[in-house]
């Protein structure tokens, strides 16, 4: 097999648009809609969108977003004082809600 881009270009899975709608989450549907309406660059091919779908976090990977994370310790301290709750701090080298 060649490089990643060459493999992508060989992909033909987008021929049937009806299959497309069944397997994509809302964000990718939006991307496809944008492509069809010209809102997104014509440079981005249907094959590209298949890869976009693979890269964007899946629903289970976004479950942590259900928690109301603050990113400012002082703001969290103010809220804790106001609401009468303890503070939970997750601290990492590199932001824990960002890099892996």
């Amino acid at each position: 097999m060649g490089g990643a881009w060459e493999v992508l270009l060989r992909r033909q899975a987008f021929e049937d648009g009806s299959q497309l709608w069944g397997c994509y989450d809302d964000r990718v549907k939006l991307l496809v809609t944008m492509l069809c309406t010209g809102a997104i660059s014509a440079q981005m091919t249907p094959g590209d969108l298949m890869v976009v779908k693979e890269i964007i976090p899946k629903a289970e990977e976004k479950a942590w977003q259900e928690i109301d994370w603050k990113v400012d310790l002082w703001e969290a301290r103010q809220k804790a004082a106001k609401t009468g709750k303890p503070i939970y701090l997750w601290e990492m080298d590199g932001h824990p809600l960002g890099c892996v």
């Binding site: 097999m1 490089g3 990643a4 881009w5 493999v7 992508l8 060989r10 992909r11 899975a13 991307l31 944008m34 997104i40 660059s41 014509a42 440079q43 981005m44 590209d48 298949m50 890869v51 976009v52 693979e54 890269i55 964007i56 976090p57 289970e60 990977e61 479950a63 942590w64 977003q65 259900e66 928690i67 109301d68 994370w69 603050k70 990113v71 400012d72 310790l73 002082w74 969290a76 301290r77 103010q78 804790a80 004082a81 009468g84 709750k85 303890p86 503070i87 939970y88 701090l89 997750w90 601290e91 990492m92 080298d93 590199g94 932001h95 824990p96 809600l97 960002g98 890099c99 892996v100």
Partner: protein, 309 residues
């Protein structure tokens, strides 16, 4: 990040945190450098735990608004985290009321040097990175059960005046994207951050690079970055597009796809050989706190804004 998936995706952990705690996440690189109000408060908390001195303070802490530590651990796994949360909550419930409250100033002073804030009028582009693999179906996400096979998230920041320049370039018929933009993307964002903190690309690592936009906002380009005698690199192509409503971005979608190889000091565990890596750069309205997390590459602020130098 396994914790994001395994611990904070757990419904029981979520329920407890949402109902009983104020939750905050921070980058210790900034926190440990702060010497003002916030820095002093942070140090007061962490020095009650096991991670004192100049080393890392990574971990999970529970404490009061006065700074009294109630719990710490740095273990993975939802059950261990739930145990720590419940024990800390029990300590909290047994505290007298006067230790649960605090008088907190409206603004923390003295830490401006180690705080990064999106400039007024700026816009945020989400940068998603994922290890991919070649299959019969094409290029797909690499198996999820391996470390480094989840999507990493970073943010690309663009300032108000920069947005105006990009809009004008397109309105004038397009051309090479300006060096301040393309070098920011290249050096600080086209990196493999799926296994930890990658190093920035330096100018001497850029073996080839082109990024241009046409009059319709269509973007295309290619890249080849190589360092360390060739044992670390990333080479591929970019395409996508951007459009404006006045001088504000209304759409920004780029896909960068290429073959990556090697590992850095803090990104051990790379797959052998050259393997596919993909990045999606996508406009976000940045309405949530988590969207305000600074770009990882902006620790040296001037270097990020003037990436072409």
């Amino acid at each position: 990040m396994a914790d994001r998936l395994l611990v904070f995706g757990n419904p029981e952990v979520q329920k407890l945190l949402l109902e009983k705690f104020v939750t905050v996440a921070g980058d210790d690189w900034y926190q440990r450098r702060k010497t003002g109000d916030e820095g002093k408060f942070y140090r007061k908390v962490v020095e009650q735990g096991p991670r004192k001195g100049d080393g890392t303070r990574q971990g999970h802490y529970v404490f009061t608004a006065q700074g009294e530590l109630l719990g710490f651990n740095n273990n993975r796994g939802a059950e261990r985290r739930l145990k720590m949360l419940r024990e800390a909550l029990e300590k909290w419930e047994n505290l007298p009321d006067e230790r649960k409250t605090a008088s907190v100033a409206a603004e923390a002073k003295g830490d401006e040097e180690n705080r990064r804030v999106l400039p007024d009028g700026g816009q945020v582009i989400k940068v998603y990175t994922r290890a991919l693999e070649k299959s019969e179906q094409g290029v797909v996400a690499a198996g999820e059960d391996e470390v480094g096979n989840q999507t990493a998230v970073d943010h690309l920041w663009l300032r108000k005046e920069e947005l105006g320049k990009l809009q004008k370039l397109i309105a004038d018929g397009g051309g090479d994207l300006p060096a301040w933009f393309s070098m920011r993307v290249a050096r600080f964002h086209l990196r493999d951050n799926t296994r930890g903190e990658p190093e920035d690309w330096k100018k001497e690592h850029i073996k080839s690079w082109e990024l241009k936009v046409d009059a319709k906002g269509q973007v295309s380009g290619h890249f080849e970055f190589v360092k360390k005698d060739g044992d670390l690199g990333f080479a591929g192509q970019i395409r996508g597009g951007m459009s404006f409503d006045g001088e504000r971005l209304s759409q920004f979608d780029l896909l960068a796809l290429g073959d990556q190889w090697g590992e850095g000091t803090y990104t051990r565990g790379a797959r052998p050989g050259k393997t596919p890596l993909g990045l999606v750069l996508q406009l976000t309205e940045a309405t949530m706190s988590r969207d305000q997390i600074p770009p990882q590459g902006i620790r040296w602020e001037q270097g990020y804004w003037q990436a072409e130098d």
